[in-house]
């Protein structure tokens, strides 16, 4: 029986198979190496964390870092994924079987396919197939194991290490999270149950805020009513907490102790004790802010001519933790003198159910008809909002109050009361201010502009100034009743010249409320008619002077007149406001006449001294110096004292409180505390005052 003929193609297929096997081996090695890199970084970090506590931020970087390293390794070795060519595979086999004498390489070379009969004969004669097969069988087996052996060992070693290391440490690296300090195992001999604390704060449900965890804090800041959970490692002695006068034992479990309390409404100190160990924790409540309510409409106080119609009410609400409800409140006041009646109520009540909303709006209409208001009556309106605070009760926020008054029929006899908004003089003031600004701007451009253009612009402003003057004149003369018989051109002629305020006002005063009006503050000889209208008349005259100068193309000379006109318009607004709010009748007491004429005599009395504004400052410095001494001997006691001092200065001096907190943290951390202590002491002592020179007088 003759041996089967081995064709060249068979040989090529065998070598191709070898090439595939080689590729698998290379890829396997690369993948296993990357895995080994990942696991060994994890194991190394866990081992380090077991002996030296790594910070949460470092631990959070470990697994991502390991993954990045493994990925980098894959990227660098990405060429290993490429297929191995038949030639390279043949060469690889030839290296391990020198007896082939490069015939295999030649046999698989496509350039010689069928061209060299001797080679085919040689292949058949020497049964290359068997040779290749045996080489592949033996060599590949050894190669595969040799290639993957190293990473497999590394992976096994790292896994074993991870299994042997404390579970807490493995989890701390695998799933780092705030407050996982307690997962780390420490030797039993060094277990101070108060050495490491984890504080978890759960804000009240109405706030909708997330739970927060902090490690080893000196103070806990949380919303009033928050659930505060304090955890630590269990030691040989039980842990107790003293708060106010209450002493509570901590609950033990799973090698930890735990204590839960509710954040109080006032700053206080929680004392933790275990055997000879003591630790203080300052509790700093954060108060829930009241809702902020802005009344959009009505925009200002108003006077209505007739008691009918309705008021449009709009308000915007906002709150830090969510609104619960809102409404408009009104109080209607009727009457005069000593006899008043009141009616109050709410409109537009709105609830804000569902998810907490920080913002909201209120809208409603208040019917004046329904209130049955009469002339002289007032209604005060404001918007109110309540938040969702379910701990200390809803906090109330209120808006500004608007006063709406129904005008009396007789009040138009003395002084015109314009229905707001806005009163006419205010418009005039704004316009006058605008004209003034335009004139000032034009004066600045005097050099840049051609004379003709400059004068043209000046005259344009003069035109506006004249219009405004006439508008003021209309208001004044209508109020004074002088326009009664003047219509159209007559009034224009009246308004087309400056006027003598005194003569006009005297006439108006005589004609209206002569001798019956009361004097205004600071102008004892003036009746309200005069006091209210004099500034407008003076403004009118100043405007006339200003417009004349502007007509001449001299805005620079017009500016002082315009400023005076603006001042008088402002004064008119003040006078009007004072008058409308009423006036205390000025009674002048004859002091000299009544001086010490009373029959009764007073008694001598003793006044108690005021306390110093900050009596504790020197004392606090002394205490701080004692803490500096203490820090060297008993760091934990010094840190506790710093916490107490911090709580004391929290209200009067927040900056010093922050510095003291940093000092307490530095003491707990250990190491050099000099910088923190110096900063804290400087903050407690106050600023250093520097004066140039040396006073001639010795002490300051």
């Amino acid at each position: 029986m003759s041996a089967p003929m081995t064709t060249r193609l068979d040989i090529q297929a065998r070598v191709q198979q070898a090439a595939e096997s080689l590729r698998v081996a290379r890829v396997s090695r690369l993948l296993l190496s990357a895995l080994a890199c990942f696991v060994s970084v994890w194991a190394a970090a866990t081992a380090i964390d077991t002996f030296v506590e790594l910070s949460a931020s470092v631990r959070q970087c470990v697994l991502p870092g390991a993954a990045v390293a493994a990925s980098l390794m894959l990227w660098v070795g990405r060429a290993q994924f490429h297929a191995v060519t038949v030639e390279r595979a043949a060469l690889w086999i030839e290296e391990r079987t020198p007896s082939l004498r490069y015939a295999l390489v030649t046999a698989v070379d496509p350039r010689y396919a069928g061209r060299v009969p001797e080679l085919d004969a040689h292949v058949n004669t020497h049964r290359y197939d068997d040779a290749v097969r045996s080489v592949l069988r033996g060599v590949l087996r050894g190669v595969l194991w040799g290639v993957v052996r190293q990473p497999v060992f590394v992976i096994c070693g790292a896994v074993v290490a991870l299994l042997l290391l404390p579970r807490g440490s493995v989890a701390r690296v695998a799933r780092p999270s705030p407050g996982d300090t307690l997962r780390r195992e420490v030797p039993a001999v060094s277990r101070d149950p108060l050495a490491t604390l984890v504080v978890v704060v759960e804000p009240p449900a109405y706030a909708g805020m997330p739970r927060t965890t902090s490690e080893d804090p000196s103070s806990v800041r949380a919303l009033v009513g928050s659930r505060v959970t304090i955890r630590g490692r269990r030691g040989s002695d039980a842990v107790y907490a003293t708060f106010d006068t209450t002493r509570v034992a901590a609950q033990d479990g799973d090698g930890r102790w735990q204590l839960t309390m509710t954040m109080p409404g006032a700053s206080s100190v929680l004392t933790l004790a275990s055997g000879a160990h003591r630790r203080l924790l300052s509790l700093e409540p954060v108060a829930d802010s009241a809702p902020v309510v802005v009344l959009i409409a009505p925009a200002r106080d108003s006077i209505l001519r007739r008691p009918n119609g309705s008021l449009v009410l709009n308000a915007e609400l906002s709150d830090d933790h969510g609104l619960a409800s809102g409404a408009f409140e009104y109080i209607m006041s009727s009457g005069s003198g000593e006899s008043f009646t009141f009616k109050s109520g709410t409109v537009g009540a709105t609830e804000f159910p569902g998810e907490p909303k920080g913002h909201g709006t209120l809208s409603a209409r208040l019917s004046i008809d329904a209130l049955e208001m009469r002339p002289g009556d007032l209604v005060h309106v404001r918007a109110v909002a309540r938040d969702r605070n379910s701990v200390s009760g809803p906090t109330l926020g209120v808006s500004e109050t608007r006063t709406i008054r129904i005008a009396r029929a007789d009040e138009y006899d003395s002084v015109a009361v314009d229905a707001a908004p806005p009163p006419e003089p205010e418009k005039n003031a704004l316009s006058q201010r605008m004209l003034l600004l335009m004139s000032q701007a034009l004066e600045k451009k005097r050099r840049a502009l051609a004379k003709g253009a400059f004068v043209a612009e000046s005259r344009a402003i003069a035109l506006d100034q004249t219009r405004l003057r006439k508008r003021v004149g209309e208001i004044v003369f209508q109020r004074l009743g002088e326009s009664g018989g003047e219509e159209g051109d007559a009034l224009d002629r009246r308004l087309d010249r400056p006027t003598n305020p005194d003569s006009v006002l005297a006439a108006a005063d005589r004609a209206t409320v002569a001798n019956s009006g009361t004097a205004l503050e600071g102008n004892a000889d003036e009746t309200p008619v005069v006091a209210v209208n004099r500034p407008l008349l003076e403004a009118y005259n100043f405007m006339w002077s200003a417009s004349t100068e502007l007509e001449l193309g001299e805005p620079g000379r017009a500016i002082p007149w315009m400023q005076k006109a603006l001042d008088r318009l402002q004064a008119a607004r003040s006078a009007e406001r004072i008058y409308l709010r009423g006036k205390v009748r000025a009674v002048v007491v004859d002091i000299a006449k009544v001086r010490l004429s009373g029959k009764d005599k007073g008694i001598a009395s003793v006044r108690a001294s005021r306390p110093a504004a900050d009596p504790g400052r020197a004392l606090r410095l002394t205490r701080f110096d004692a803490m500096v001494e203490l820090a060297a001997r008993l760091p934990s006691a010094a840190a506790d004292s710093l916490v107490l001092l911090r709580l004391e200065v929290l209200a009067p001096d927040r900056d010093a409180a922050q510095k003291l907190e940093a000092a307490a943290a530095a003491v707990r951390r250990g190491g050099d505390v000099t910088a923190a202590f110096v900063a804290a002491r400087r903050a407690l002592a106050g600023d250093v005052e520097r004066r140039a020179g040396i006073s001639l007088w010795g002490a300051p």
Binding site: L596, K601, G602, I603, A604, S605, V606, R607, A608, S609, R610, P611, A612, A613, P615, R617, A618, L621, D625, T674, F677, V678, R681, R682, L684, A685, G686, V688, E689, R690, R691, A692, G693, I694, S695, L696, W697, A699, P700
Partner: protein
């Protein structure tokens, strides 16, 4: 003859040389000099003590040596060693510390020195000045441990002085906002205040039990207005015995205080500002112009106008204030007005209050002055090695002339 003259000249030259040699030899038999370096001077004592040096020169590089070194060198000088020293110009730093006469008893440090000076306490730097040659004043409530002023080549150090016992302030004024808020400012700043405020004839509101008006009980009297007239006769002797007195313009007009007031007060003037300007509170107040007496100094001024003046009246001190209605500062001023008003009043009262402790000066006293007192002024240059032997300056020219004359005479007569 010529030959004899030549022989005489030759003999004179030899004689001069012999005299010079004798002089040098004589100088060497008297003693030797040593050179010392400032940095290693303390290590040189054994060398100086064990040898027969009769002169020493010290070269200073960085600052004066310590007091102990100076004293040893002075002892050598007194023992007959001729001590000289040289070095770059030596500068001193002056530091004086005292307690501010106010309730918080802050430390007031006066510092002067050429160039940059750093003021430090035991913990850290308190302040620094790029040029303290004109002097600076630093006030701090909380320095710790030894206080030091560190200059470029010298350091002055002072321990903080002991705390003082603060005595009471007596405030006298009518029932007015000025009286009320003056008392309030002083009390809130920590002063113990007694006051007497008449509200009706024979009726007064008082604070504290009145003590005899002397410096054992009171540090100062604040006279707000004419209500002080009642006690004026006792106030003047109190001041002369060491007490303090602050007069507001109304009180300064009282004839009883004419002898002690630092300034004559004029008629009240309205402020140039129409309304109260919170950014310039004192400028917004009405004022009374003050005309200083010859022995008075100005403590505060606004432009050319003196607003607070002070003088010494025997053992005591008197200040007069030209501001009117200072309480308006507290009520109408800016955000810090309440605190600023308190501090102003406390500082003004502290400027005259009795009972100040003595200032503590730098422990070295005046180091440069004491150095020069002990060792004299510096010499121009450092001598090298042995001290120079004082040979007369004429010796060399005379010798040359003699030898030249003898040689010329021989040559002109043909001899060799």
């Amino acid at each position: 003859m010529r030959v004899w003259a030549e022989r005489a000249l030759r003999g004179a030259a030899f004689a001069l040389l012999a005299w010079a040699m004798w002089r040098v030899a004589a100088a060497n038999t008297v003693g030797r000099a040593v050179s010392l370096e400032g940095a290693t001077v303390d290590a040189s004592w054994p060398r100086l003590l064990s040898s027969s040096h009769d002169a020493a020169h010290l070269t200073i590089a960085n600052g004066l040596p310590a007091d102990s070194t100076r004293d040893v060198l002075a002892a050598f000088a007194h023992a007959g060693v001729r001590m000289t020293w040289s070095g770059p110009s030596v500068s001193a730093v002056a530091l004086s510390v005292e307690r501010v006469r106010e309730p918080d008893q802050s430390l007031l440090m006066r510092v002067a020195g050429p160039g940059r000076v750093v003021v430090r306490d035991a913990a850290s730097m308190l302040d620094s000045a790029a040029d303290a040659s004109g002097g600076i004043t630093v006030v701090s409530a909380g320095p710790q441990g030894m206080l030091r002023a560190v200059g470029s080549s010298a350091t002055a150090s002072v321990p903080p002085p002991a705390a003082m016992r603060m005595r009471t302030i007596l405030v006298l004024g009518r029932a007015s906002w000025e009286t009320k808020f003056t008392v309030a400012a002083l009390e809130e700043q920590g002063w113990t205040v007694e006051s007497r405020v008449p509200v009706a004839p024979g009726t007064a509101v008082t604070t504290g039990a009145r003590q005899p008006l002397d410096t054992a009980h009171y540090a100062a009297v604040v006279a707000i207005d004419s209500a002080a007239a009642e006690l004026a006769a006792a106030i003047v002797p109190f001041v002369r015995s060491g007490g303090g007195l602050v007069l507001l313009a109304d009180a300064a007009r009282l004839s009883a205080f004419t002898a002690v007031t630092p300034a004559n007060v004029g008629a009240r003037q309205s402020s140039a500002k129409r309304s109260f300007d919170a950014t310039a509170p004192l400028a917004s107040l009405n004022r009374t112009p003050l005309t200083l007496r010859d022995d008075a100094v100005s403590l505060d001024s606004s432009g050319t106008a003196v607003t607070v003046a002070a003088r010494r009246e025997r053992a005591g001190r008197v200040a007069v204030v030209g501001y009117d209605e200072l309480w308006r500062w507290r009520l109408e001023g800016g955000d810090d007005a309440v605190v600023a008003h308190r501090r102003w009043w406390s500082r003004t009262v502290g400027a005259v209050a009795a009972g100040a402790g003595p200032a503590t000066n730098a422990s070295e006293g005046a180091p440069v002055a004491r150095w020069i007192d002990a060792l004299g002024g510096s010499v121009a240059r450092a001598p090298s090695g042995a001290p120079s032997v004082p040979l007369p300056q004429w010796l060399l020219p005379v010798l040359c002339i003699i030898l030249l004359a003898e040689w010329g005479s021989r040559r002109t007569r043909g001899a060799r």
